[in-house]
Every structure is written in structure tokens, then in C-alpha cells.
Amino acid sequence: MKTISTIILVIGLSVCLKAQITLGSTVETFGVLAGSTVTSSGPTVVLGNLGVSPGTAVTGFAAIPPGGVGLVSGAIHSADAFAGTAQTQLTTAYNSAAGAASTATVSGDLGGLTFFPGVYTSNSSLAITGTVTLNALGNPNAQFIFQMGSTLTTAVGSTVLLTNGAQASNVFWQVGSSATLGTSSFFSGNILALVSISLGTGAALQGRALARNGAVTLLSNTINTPAGLGGPPPPLVTPAPSSLILVTTALLGILIYQGRKRIFKPFRT
């Protein structure tokens, strides 16, 4: 009963939630943005822009000296005006996320929990072990905002799963200090960190790694920036034919095979 009341309360509060966070047209083109440095080791792939401002150092990518094996599908902006504008927009978005009215308090490890659209607040750090599910209740515009006073840490192989229409572009992780994603983890959403962001080896991020003051450190990662103005084109979706068509085909095939003698009899004589 208590659980049902809590769910009803959370859904109710979610419906009442009017605050909508927007990133800004410049910053949303970035898959990775740092304040001091962007460092990559191994075959990292960033689909979207990559930038740093006010710092200048970007290492580990083929497109910029000193080179490396990392790939960026968009442009690399090192301390230029575009990156500067992105940082300004990031600060605005960070403050909006931090100031959003809380709908529920969370603490400790979020692993195994399911969240509905809303603003979830923790005064200290948050962790994710296993899978955390974000359920948009069928509304693709629904936003999830996680505010935390200090760090965000995800465990090895952990997953942030989006269901029922939840979009990575509508998930915001406002991190009071630094975020660390575990090795081979799968993370969804925009990480807005005050200090730094580190991705473990092979971690995949469906979203953005945006650090205001510190570094973004990458280790053979894949970062897929959700489609936005000037971002990469939205990918095509390729579902299979419906199971009704597939099974009908197969059953017809069996029927023809079973009745082949009767069907082909006229042709034999």
C-alpha cells in the first residue's frame, strides 16, 4: 500500500512538474565539452562535436595534434568562440537543473529502481549498480532531472535503461562535483558536471558529457549525442516485419508443403 501511495504521489508530482530544462542550441551539438582538457586513450568515438573552453588541450584524437586514434564525427572546438558560447549555455542549463523544484529525495545506490518523470534530489553523492530504469510513461517529452550535491559513480557493467518513450536528450544528471562511469557501463542522459567527468574503459554514453570547470577523460568510449540542432543526423530505425506476417508466411509454407501432392497433381497428368 505504501509503495502504491508513493508511486501515485510521484506520478502526481511529475504531472504537476512544469519546469523544462533546455540545453541551448550551441551546447546541444556537443557530445563532449570540458572546462580544462579533453583526454582520450584508445579508439574513442564521439558522434557530435567535441570542445574545450576556457582550457585548450585536446589529446587522443586523430583530427587534432598531437593526434591519436579517437574519432569525432563533428568538429573539434578548442577555446574558440563556439566553445565559449557552449560553456555559457552549459552554465545556464546547469543552474536551471540545480534550481528545478524537487519532486522526491533519493540517496545512495539507484540500482534496481525505476523512476518516472520528475526531479530527484540528493544532497550528497549517488551511485548506480546494476540497472536503473527511467520510464517516461509514454511521453517522449518527459524530463528526468537528477540533482546531486557531490559525485555520481556508476559500477562496472551498470546500465541506465530508457523505457516507454524516454529520450536521452531529456535526462539531466546535475552533478555537484565529478561523475565517473564504470568500465563497460551503458549510460543515458546529459551529464552536467561542475568539475570533471571520467568514463571507464569501453563505457558507452547515449547523451552528453559536459564538464564546466574540469576535464573530461575518455578510455575507448562511444558517445552518441542525441540529435539536436547541428548535431549528427537522427539514425534510421529498422524494425522487422510484424510477427503476424512472419508466422503467416511460415504456416502457408507448411500448408503448401503438406498439400504439395494435391496441389501439383493437375500439373503431373
Binding site: P233, P241, L244
Partner: protein
């Protein structure tokens, strides 16, 4: 009308009345979820199997068994839990258990054994169990993406994979939930069971049936990855009629592979037995 026919009729009416909401829910899912639309065909196949076996079950004497009521009680409990909010899956499963219970109390264990196969087929009508589906979806999406990327790499086509997205020279393909392969898996699994019943129904052929069902899993996964790889490789295949046709054609190949696996297994099995 004999008392037996009256009892059967009364039971059917009672089950339909009690489980009308579950049946409506299942029908709605078959109608709206393309992974589950084969649900419309499952009752047809079940009725056909029952009709095909009519001589067998008609010859059986009815030996009503009180254990049927125990099954009905279990189903009622599950149905009640489903109505309280556990979900459609529980209610639908309760319907199947109720049918098994009704068969047992009306005809006994010999009837239940004869109708065991149609009841097994009915499992394919059940709605997706959200807990399992949500857990399996992402790993299946990533597996399909990984295998598709490997296929393209082996074929000498440059591909960048990040998570569930394949980038083939700027042409991007997303392996979303609807592309996770569950559709192929359920359809091919169902067909494996039907093929096993049709071609390997003799006593002692259960290893062939089991192999057929087990083979359906890797075949469906690889076929789905091949479909994704084809859509990545040839942009013309990523949407519209050509896409539907390629998906359909690959499924036909899957069926052929399944039949080939059966033939191969049967030959090896005969050799082993001799």
C-alpha cells in the same frame, strides 16, 4: 445433451466470463504490438491441432480428477493477483492454468496429456512479461549491433558502432527496441515447436524437437543482426517496402536453416542410435 457435454459447455462459458478482461487485454496487445501480432494465429493453430488429434482424444474415456479443482484454485488466486495490479501476464497465465484444470477435472490425466501440446502452444499467446522483456531488450539490442558491426567489418565495409548505433560512412542505423530480435525469436520459436510437432512427433523423437527449438534461438539472433547489417550496408533497404521485403526474406532463410538443422540432426541421431 449429455451431462458431459453440458459440463463442458458450462465450463467454457464460465471461463469466458471470468477471463473476459484478460482475453480483451491479450487481443489488444496482439493488435497493437507487432512483436505479439502472431497471437491471432496461435488459437487457429491450436484448434487445428485439436481437430487433427480428434480421433485420439475422442477414444479416451473420461476419468474426472479432483486435482483439476486444485489447479482451478491456483489459477483463481493468480487471476485475483492479476486483477489487483500484478498485470496482464498473470491474468493470462491464470487462464491457461484454468483451462488445464478444467480439462483435468472433466477428463482426467489422459485428456490432459493429449491436450498438453496445444496448451504448450498457447504459451506463445501470452503477453510479454515486462520484467523479462525490459531486462532482455537492451542486451539483445547491443548484441544485434555488435554482430551486425562484425558482419560488416568481415565483409570489408567500414563501420563505427557506438552502443546501439551503426554508422556506415555517414549512413546511421539505430538498433532500437523494435529491432531487438524478439520478433524473429518468438516467430521462429513458435514455428520450431509447430515443425517439431508435425515432423518429429513419434515417441522418442523429443531430442529432435528440443534441438529444433534450441536452434531457433541463435538462428533468430544472427538473422536479426544480418537484417540490421543489410540495412546499414544498403541504404535502399533501410525503409519502406524494400526493408519489409528484406526482413521477410531473411525470415524465410531462417526457416530454411531451421529445417536444414533438423535434417542434419536427424541424420546424426540415426547414426548415433545405430
Amino acid at each position: 445433451m449429455s451431462w458431459r457435454k453440458s459440463a463442458v459447455l458450462l465450463t467454457v462459458v464460465a471461463l469466458l466470463a471470468c477471463y473476459a478482461p484478460a482475453l480483451r487485454g491479450m487481443f489488444e496487445q496482439w493488435r497493437t504490438d507487432e512483436d505479439m501480432s502472431h497471437g491471432f494465429l496461435v488459437p487457429v493453430v491450436i484448434l487445428w491441432v485439436i481437430w487433427r488429434e480428434r480421433e485420439r482424444w475422442r477414444a479416451l474415456p473420461a476419468q474426472p480428477n479432483w486435482w483439476g479443482w486444485a489447479l482451478l484454485a491456483v489459477a483463481a488466486g493468480l487471476h485475483f493477483a492479476g486483477a489487483l495490479g500484478v498485470g496482464l501476464f498473470a491474468e493470462s497465465l491464470a487462464l491457461l492454468i484454468s483451462v488445464a484444470g478444467a480439462v483435468l477435472y472433466l477428463g482426467g490425466f489422459s485428456w490432459l496429456r493429449t491436450l498438453a501440446f496445444p496448451l504448450t502452444l498457447a504459451l506463445f499467446m501470452l503477453p510479454k512479461l515486462a520484467l523479462v522483456y525490459n531486462q532482455a531488450t537492451l542486451p539483445l539490442q547491443l548484441l544485434a549491433s555488435r554482430i551486425a558491426a562484425s558482419m560488416l567489418t568481415v565483409a570489408g565495409i567500414g563501420v563505427i558502432r557506438e552502443g546501439n548505433i551503426l554508422d556506415v560512412g555517414g549512413h546511421r542505423v539505430a538498433v532500437v527496441e523494435a529491432c531487438n530480435g524478439i520478433r524473429y525469436l518468438l516467430s521462429l520459436g513458435f514455428m520450431a515447436v509447430v515443425l517439431g510437432y508435425l515432423f518429429d512427433s513419434k515417441p522418442g523423437m523429443w531430442p529432435a524437437r528440443f534441438t529444433l527449438l534450441a536452434a531457433a534461438i541463435p538462428i533468430a539472433i544472427v538473422a536479426n543482426a544480418a537484417r540490421v547489417a543489410a540495412a546499414g550496408w544498403m541504404p535502399a533497404l533501410d525503409s519502406g517496402f524494400a526493408h519489409e521485403l528484406s526482413g521477410w526474406f531473411i525470415f524465410v532463410l531462417c526457416l530454411a536453416m531451421l529445417i536444414l538443422t533438423r535434417q542434419l540432426f536427424n541424420k546424426m541421431y540415426v547414426l548415433y542410435r545405430s
